[in-house]
């Protein structure tokens, strides 16, 4: 299984973290610091796998962001590379040419998409179209709710004036 997902920028700033195994807050900061050190210093031509604390960490660099996933020893590393790419493509379709700034200002949306892709550290859906459809459906639910709320609060504001 995937134990955690980490998105870090080239400067070491954390853009997204998702933990599927129990790590306390302190342990989480420690892990992030350690892994940042290991991964950010690796050269460009080297392979995308790092052995760390008995686990394997698969990472892939997209522009200025490193997408890292920590897996067990007996998992298929090449498949995880595909999963990372899957996620990036979905993000790309959703945001339209996604860049790091999109992920900073819309981090909650990035999380929602990740939740449609992975649960309990396992892959959930292999079709980008389905994921996009589900996210769109939920977004529209949010939109409708917002519209309703604003119209109701207008009415109330009017009524209580």
């Amino acid at each position: 299984m995937i134990h955690f997902v980490l998105l870090i920028s080239r400067q070491g700033k954390v853009r997204l973290t998702k933990w599927y195994s129990p790590y306390s807050q302190k342990e989480r900061t420690k892990v992030i610091r350690e892994l940042s050190g290991v991964i950010l210093t690796r050269g460009p031509k080297l392979c995308n796998f790092v052995e760390w604390r008995g686990f394997k960490v698969v990472y892939k660099r997209y522009a200025s962001l490193y997408f890292c996933m920590c897996i067990d020893q007996d998992d298929n590393e090449l498949e995880i590379l595909e999963i990372i790419h899957h996620y990036v493509e979905i993000l790309d379709r959703y945001f339209g040419s996604v860049c790091e700034l999109d992920l900073i200002f819309n981090f909650h949306k990035a999380y929602y998409i990740l939740d449609e892709l992975l649960i309990a550290g396992e892959l959930q859906e292999s079709s980008k179209k389905t994921v996009a459809r589900l996210i769109a459906a939920q977004d529209s639910l949010v939109e409708t709710a917002k519209e309703q709320a604003s119209s109701i609060s207008n009415i109330i504001a009017q009524a209580t004036k």
């Binding site: 392979c47 090449l78 595909e82 981090f107 939740d115 649960i119 396992e122 292999s126 980008k128």
Partner: protein
């Protein structure tokens, strides 16, 4: 209304934080925001709860503490609207982890949401549950999740499947409930449900063998068919990745087939065709194809044997290994480690490529390749492989050196065909990377050196040469100093030159120079300096002309701040000045260290046989080696010539070696043999197997040894084990070894003592700074065959020994009976003692052996 309660929008806050130029600025902004959020929480603000939680999550990602927001998540989850629940669950998953008790409060909300009419809300609940539920929550909500496995919407079904995985991992007992619904998921058409269903079955099979049986019986054909369909399916835009339809599904199915086929020949038969098809037809130009091939090869290697498939798999491996892509090569090395178990021959063919990988610039690949090389070594290829590895050691970088050194040392030890090669390789490693070499490795080297009596001259000369160039490698210095001390005379007199050596002139004062360097260098540590001191003492005995100079050097350490050095220098100075008469006997060449004892102790077990025979390739790996000549027989043979003499001369010499002056005690036996013969006797006794007059006798003796608990001080004493924390660590690493072996040899000797000699002096069987054993002998009148020994143990160290256990073993013609000891606890510092009675019966009393 508080003007701050509307607060900034999320976007604005993020912008503000990003605009901060210093950490202090950022902290200020965050503090202000947190204050506003806390105020809003206190006022139970409904409108902006959503936005506040989003802000909190961002602040959390920056690394600031946000525990005050945890209850907000719960409130949001409990609200009715979808947007609130969405962000509430997200906050829950981010800000909390399963160990927090607050999580339990969500259980009720989760239960309600799992039964909600809106399938997206059900989805949210399943997602949260699947990511962070604890064991209690899992138990509570398992029935709901089980029901949802058959929900009408595939979106919910797939989420329920993954949620179930977490549940059965947390509470394996519940696995039985999920077997039926999980296997029905395997018949679905929806890819998402299939993927998650397959994953659920995999985890079920791992957790419950019942599930494994069930799935094997009922579902294999279905799975094979599904894989075939997907492999043969035409282009599908929705699932296509790099020309392959849904590689994720391919891989999951292959994984599940692996679990089902492992250990079951019928199941493995079912899947042969489809595995062959996938292995041959899958395109390997893109990563997706390679991922599938990787999984396929793993499966083929794990299931029951099918020759054709295995060949296919090894071919794919070969292709991967020569791929230029680093990822593929890494994966290939991984696969090869599994393949070795299955087909070592095929892997040997790729040895050259693997060796290249050890030198790769990529650290991950290097590590994998090194492990693989280690598995590949056997007797025939050990020499060239070691040569390559040692060459690489010189150019490798620091982090890798430690690993590499450890592996080379263990390879050399396991497979070395002859001693001279072993010594050569170890010298090279020590010169190159001595600081990375572990203690037990150079201890083993010393044991081997002492056993290779014909190579003593060669070794000491080689070490001397190496020592001139690499004095910063600690272990090299230690071994060199020990050898120079022991065999210094061979060095100066060029004894035992082998053909391959070049002549080297070393004078006596050169050797003293060398050892002096070891003492003077401040970078070398206590152990090395202590060993150097004792080496100097030995040299003073071997080269009397340098005695004065040596005395000066030793005296310099009299005021050393390190207790060990001070003690030694004072004691040695004393020996040099006052005890000239026993000095030469004291510093005789050390008896050969018993390899089997050493390796057995290293293996941490009480070993039962004595070491290797001469000439055979020595194998330190297991202390159990071929039964060798019994030195005890040697002793008895000698004793047949002269009944009284050898025993006591042996006794004399043992005492000399221990450095204890017992001349009056053993004199009455009237020894006529000079100590030299005693040396031979002892050497025979201890150089078990490597001395020429090996009388083959079938009595393999067991070696006297003490129990595990007592091992610590004894092991400490011989220093061959790691220097542990006994405080008065006064004994040097090198010298006490004979005590151990003497202990080994002592068992039979005292028995021999009283069988043959008329007088039965009591004998100090063993003495060191922490333990003394005394044997008092007596014979019952009228029963000359039986000897009673009363053994007294005194603890000379400041530590109390608990669970002290004495064991003894004897050659076959003797019978031993041990009475229980008077107690198990040996008080410290000689405050009390334990006594134990032994009865030894000699069935060959008075007969010629």
């Amino acid at each position: 209304m508080n003007p701050f309660s509307s607060g900034t929008r999320l976007r604005d806050m993020i912008r503000a934080i990003r605009a901060c130029k210093t950490a202090a600025e950022e902290r200020a902004v965050v503090r202000k925001e947190c204050a506003a959020i806390r105020a809003a929480i206190n006022e139970n603000d409904q409108d902006y709860r959503h936005r506040n939680l989003a802000k909190l999550m961002f602040i959390h990602m920056l690394g600031y503490p946000t525990h005050f927001g945890q209850m907000e998540c719960l409130k949001l989850i409990a609200s009715a609207g979808f947007p609130e629940k969405r962000i509430g669950y997200l906050g829950l998953m981010l800000l909390l982890d399963e160990r927090q008790e607050v999580l339990m409060l969500v259980t009720n909300s989760l239960k309600q949401d799992l039964n909600h009419s809106n399938q997206y809300i059900v989805g949210l609940a399943l997602c949260a549950l699947g990511n962070i539920c604890s064991a209690e929550m899992a138990r509570d909500l398992a029935p709901e999740v089980e029901r949802l496995l058959q929900f009408r919407d595939p979106n919910v079904r797939k989420k329920a499947a993954l949620c179930s995985i977490r549940i059965i991992k947390k509470v394996p007992d519940l696995a039985e409930n999920f077997i039926n619904p999980a296997s029905s998921l395997l018949k679905e058409k929806h890819h998402g449900v299939l993927i998650t269903g397959v994953q659920l079955c995999m985890d079920l099979c791992k957790v419950s063998s019942e599930a494994l049986e069930y799935v094997r019986k009922k579902c294999i054909e279905g799975l094979v068919k599904t894989l075939r369909d997907i492999a043969n399916s035409p282009y599908s835009p929705e699932y296509d990745i790099a020309g392959i339809t849904d590689p994720f599904l391919h891989i999951r199915l292959l994984k599940l087939l692996r679990i089902l086929g492992q250990g079951d020949a019928d199941a493995s038969d079912c899947m042969n065709d489809i595995l062959a098809q996938v292995a041959t037809k899958t395109e390997s130009k893109k990563n997706a194809g390679n991922a599938i091939l990787y999984e396929c090869v793993e499966t083929i290697m794990s299931i029951e044997d099918n020759g054709g498939l295995r060949v296919l798999a090894i071919n794919i491996l070969g292709r991967f290994l020569s791929n230029r892509d680093n990822n593929i090569r890494y994966v290939a090395l991984n696969m090869l480690m599994k393949a070795i178990v299955v087909d070592a021959q095929a892997v040997q063919r790729h040895r050259a490529t693997i060796l290249e990988c050890v030198k790769d610039s990529d650290a991950s690949i290097r590590k994998r390749a090194l492990e693989l090389v280690y598995l590949l070594v056997n007797e025939s290829n050990v020499k060239p492989l070691t040569k390559e590895l040692i060459e690489y050691l010189e150019v490798s970088d620091q982090e890798f050196k430690g690993d590499l050194t450890a592996k080379i040392c263990s390879l050399v030890e396991k497979f070395s065909p002859e001693k001279i090669w072993y010594i050569d390789q170890m010298l090279k490693v020590l010169s190159e990377a001595g600081n990375f070499v572990k203690d037990e490795v150079w201890h083993a080297l010393i044991v081997v050196i002492s056993n290779a009596s014909d190579l003593h001259g060669y070794t000491v000369r080689a070490l001397y040469r190496a020592f001139q160039t690499s004095t910063e490698q600690e272990s090299l210095v230690r071994v060199a100093v020990w050898c120079i001390g022991e065999y210094g005379d061979m060095l100066v007199n060029n004894v035992g030159m082998l053909d391959i050596e070049e002549p080297i002139t070393v004078t006596e004062s050169d050797t003293v120079d060398a050892v002096e360097v070891a003492i003077k260098r401040h970078t070398l540590d206590l152990t090395t300096k202590a060993m150097a001191l004792i080496a100097l003492l030995k040299l003073s005995s071997r080269f009397p002309s340098c005695s004065e100079r040596i005395k000066d050097i030793i005296v310099q350490n009299k005021r050393s701040l390190m207790l060990e050095l001070q003690q030694r220098s004072i004691e040695f100075n004393c020996i040099l000045q006052k005890h000239q008469n026993i000095r030469s006997a004291l510093l005789e060449r050390m008896p050969v260290l018993d390899e089997a004892t050493f390796s057995g102790r290293r293996a941490g077990s009480l070993h039962t046989a004595i070491s290797t025979s001469t000439g055979a390739p020595h194998n330190l790996q297991n202390g159990i080696a071929k039964p060798a000549a019994a030195p005890i027989a040697d002793l008895l043979d000698l004793s047949s010539d002269d009944a009284a003499a050898p025993s006591s001369s042996g006794g004399d010499f043992l005492m000399d070696l221990l450095g204890v002056d017992l001349s009056p005690a053993s004199a009455p036996s009237g020894t006529s043999q000079p100590p030299k013969a005693g040396t031979d006797v002892l050497l025979d006794l201890l150089s078990i197997g490597t001395s020429p007059p090996a009388q083959s006798s079938s009595s393999a003796s067991d070696i006297l040894s003490s129990s595990q608990d007592n091992k610590a001080p004894l092991a400490n004493l011989n220093g061959l084990a790691s220097l542990s924390s006994l405080p008065a660590n006064a004994t040097s690493p090198a010298s006490p070894v004979p005590m151990m072996d003497l202990l080994d040899g002592l068992g039979p000797i005292p028995q021999k003592h009283e069988e043959n000699g008329p007088a039965y002096p009591s004998l100090v069987a063993y003495e060191s700074s922490s333990l003394r054993m005394t044997f008092n002998f007596s014979k019952q009148p009228g029963n000359p065959q039986m000897t009673l020994i009363q053994a007294t143990f005194t603890n000379l160290s400041p530590n109390v020994y608990n669970d002290f256990l004495f064991q003894a073993a004897v050659p076959k013609f003797l019978q031993l009976h041990l009475d229980p000891a008077s107690s198990n606890t040996l008080p410290a510092s000689g405050n009390g003692s334990i006594t134990q009675n032994l009865k030894v019966t000699n069935s060959q009393q008075g007969k010629e052996p």
